[in-house]
């Protein structure tokens, strides 16, 4: 066997081993979570180490209980509401703000574009206590809308930064052409920038949605009324409750994870690059 051949084979084997390793690390807990959520409590207690899911014994009781007895319908709708509003606001504001720091010339433009990310440097744990105090004093604490505000503050810097760097790579001549052809600045953003930035906007939307959907710390600190709980807060509430039933927590965790998973798989196709190809001399 030639040396080159040997090397190719070694690389091939290592690649397979690597894939197996990551699949086990990443997928196994996920698999266990799903399997457990479909079993009954008795089954889990009798055979806690059983990894095989018997198709005939699939059991939706846990989901039924979590959704309708432990208020997860409410949690899901809360999380959906918070996440979607955050996404809409974040994408809108980041598009306008990102465009402004990229193309418009105003006093402090350079400072603005560099300082965007500085806000992101503050860890959430540093901010949560002062914010808790401030919002408590203002009587705004136990409110979903305050949560939206906080998530917006958390996601907007990165969203702005992502769009800023994407907009910088859009050829300015296309905008010039739009301005001459009869668009206002907003018209250029709406008819040219936004269609051309679809992949970047999809990334920003997905990122913001994931943050808002999964966020726990602020939801934990700010929300007191169970009716206002978001999903992650709900799961922790459930896990901490007295009658700990493993399959219920697993079902709740599936409810948190699966929407993100499908959202990602759906958006993934839209995250392709190269929408501007053909505009320029190329």
């Amino acid at each position: 066997m030639s040396r080159e051949h040997l090397e190719t084979n070694i690389i091939r084997i290592l690649r397979v081993l690597g894939i197996i390793f990551f699949v086990v690390i990443v997928a196994f807990p996920f698999y266990w979570m799903i399997v457990s959520s479909f079993r009954s409590l008795e089954e889990i207690l009798m055979q806690p180490a059983n990894l095989w899911l018997d198709i005939t014994k699939i059991n939706f009781r846990a989901y039924d209980e979590v959704l309708f007895q432990h208020g997860f319908v409410r949690h899901i709708s809360n999380s959906t509401y918070v996440s979607i509003i955050t996404v809409v606001l974040s994408v809108t504001l980041a598009t306008l703000g990102g465009y402004a720091v990229t193309r418009l010339h105003f006093r402090g433009q350079a400072f603005m574009s560099y300082s965007i990310l500085v806000i992101y440097m503050f860890p959430a744990i540093v901010l949560v206590i002062p914010l808790y105090v401030v919002f408590s004093h203002m009587g705004l604490r136990d409110s979903i809308h305050v949560l939206i505000l906080v998530y917006l503050a958390q996601t907007l810097p990165v969203a702005l930064y992502m769009l800023h760097s994407y907009f910088q790579n859009l050829p300015v001549e296309i905008e010039y052409a739009g301005l001459i052809d009869g668009c206002s600045r907003l018209g250029v953003i709406w008819r040219i920038i936004i269609p051309l930035s679809a992949p970047a906007l999809a990334s920003v939307a997905l990122y913001t949605f994931m943050i808002a959907w999964n966020e726990f710390l602020f939801a934990f600190m700010f929300l007191d009324t169970p009716e206002k709980f978001t999903l992650s807060r709900g799961v922790v509430q459930l896990a901490g409750s007295v009658h700990l039933s493993k399959q219920l927590v697993m079902a709740a965790s599936v409810l948190v994870t699966v929407p993100i998973l499908f959202l990602f798989l759906f958006f993934e196709r839209h995250l392709v690059q190269g929408l501007t190809s053909g505009a320029m001399k190329g």
Binding site: I180, D181, S184, A279
Partner: protein, 354 residues
């Protein structure tokens, strides 16, 4: 009335003066070429006319009306960009109709205009394609079409041919000239290519460092360059330029250079003596032909350019380039007699023509 008038236009980018005190008058239907090396401010000037960049000083007038306060979309101009800048997410026909749609032109009229321009440019088959599915030449046509379809009062073209390959460029150049005759629009065309400028322009504006050096019809600029920059920038092969002394001998002005001397009988100036430069175009130098001044040059290198031969030779300490017929029998090392017609010698004092 002038279609476009620029009055004392000045633009600075920080410390750099991109455009300095530019005055220009372009007549209705005129093909005006802004010519200059890169960085001379010609594209900036074009963007100022379009309203894409605000000038620091001066006024832009279209048909005698100041447009300084008008947004680009309200100036009724169209622009073709060097990079074409097509809208990549729109089909060719939507690219062409975009400007009309933005202006609320009725649908049947839009359809008619798009058909008209597609026929004019021969791109009827491409209307449903996206820009990325087009070749460079086709994209260039669509970019032209997008400007033409609006029938604006002023066309601005920013090096529209520079991304095409050489052969295509020559063809499109001819088409552009014909199209200009056909639609009779006023055009401002920016280029750094002197051949484009000379073949296309009714009027050529030579610029450098943000200033206009000379304005005029191509032949006028070629035959009477106003300064040494214009003389060297226009014309290929480049003009021969020699430094030397002007002096009077037997009441006639003479030039004494490092390699040769000339009698400048036709010189009309008050200058009696001093440092001057003389410029002689390569094609104004003949070999073996009877000329008033015969000089001896040594051939160093010969370039064949098809229709003629360009000879690089030594004249004393100076280099000399001249043109010979394509069948001239010359070899490097040959010593030839060259004849200069003093009537066709350009004389410059402190860089300016005298």
């Amino acid at each position: 009335m002038s279609a476009l008038t620029l009055k004392t236009i000045t633009k600075r980018f920080g410390e750099v003066i991109a455009v300095s005190n530019v005055d220009l008058d372009v007549k209705d239907g005129e093909f005006c070429v802004l010519l200059g090396p890169s960085g001379c401010g010609k594209s900036t000037l074009l963007n100022i006319i379009a309203g894409l960049i605000p000038q620091d000083q001066g006024t832009v007038l279209l048909d005698g009306q100041s447009v300084d306060r008008l947004a680009p979309r309200d100036r009724d101009i169209a622009m073709v960009f060097q990079s074409y800048a097509l809208y990549p997410h729109m089909s060719v026909s939507r690219n062409l109709s975009f400007g009309l749609r933005m202006r609320g032109v009725p649908k049947p009229t839009i359809l008619e205009s798009v058909q008209w321009v597609a026929r004019l440019l021969g791109i009827e088959d491409l209307l449903d394609r996206k820009p990325r599915e087009l070749s460079g030449g086709q994209r260039q046509r669509v970019a032209m079409g997008r400007a033409l379809v609006r029938r604006p009062r002023l066309f601005l073209l920013d090096e529209p041919l520079s991304n095409l390959d050489a052969r295509l460029r020559t063809n499109v150049r001819l088409e552009l000239k014909q199209m200009h005759h056909q639609i009779k629009g006023t055009m401002i065309y920016v280029t750094h290519d002197q051949v484009e400028a000379m073949t296309l322009g009714d009027k050529v504006v030579v610029m450098r460092d943000g200033k206009i050096h000379q304005t005029g019809p191509p032949e006028f600029i070629y035959n009477t360059p106003s300064d040494t920059f214009v003389a060297t920038f226009i014309g290929s092969p480049e003009i021969n330029l020699y430094r030397g002394k002007l002096f009077q001998k037997e009441g006639r002005p003479h030039f004494q250079g490092a390699g040769f001397s000339l009698t400048l009988d036709k010189l009309q100036t008050d200058l009696r003596e001093g440092q001057i430069e003389v410029g002689i175009r390569p094609e104004d130098i003949g070999t073996g032909k009877p000329g008033t001044v015969d000089l001896t040059a040594k051939v160093e290198m010969i370039s064949y350019v098809g229709s003629e031969k360009v000879i690089h030779a030594r004249l004393g300490d100076e280099a000399l380039t001249f043109c010979a017929p394509k069948d001239a029998v010359l070899r490097p090392g040959n010593v030839v007699q060259v004849a200069i017609d003093p009537g066709r010698v350009h004389v410059f004092h402190k860089g300016r023509r005298i």
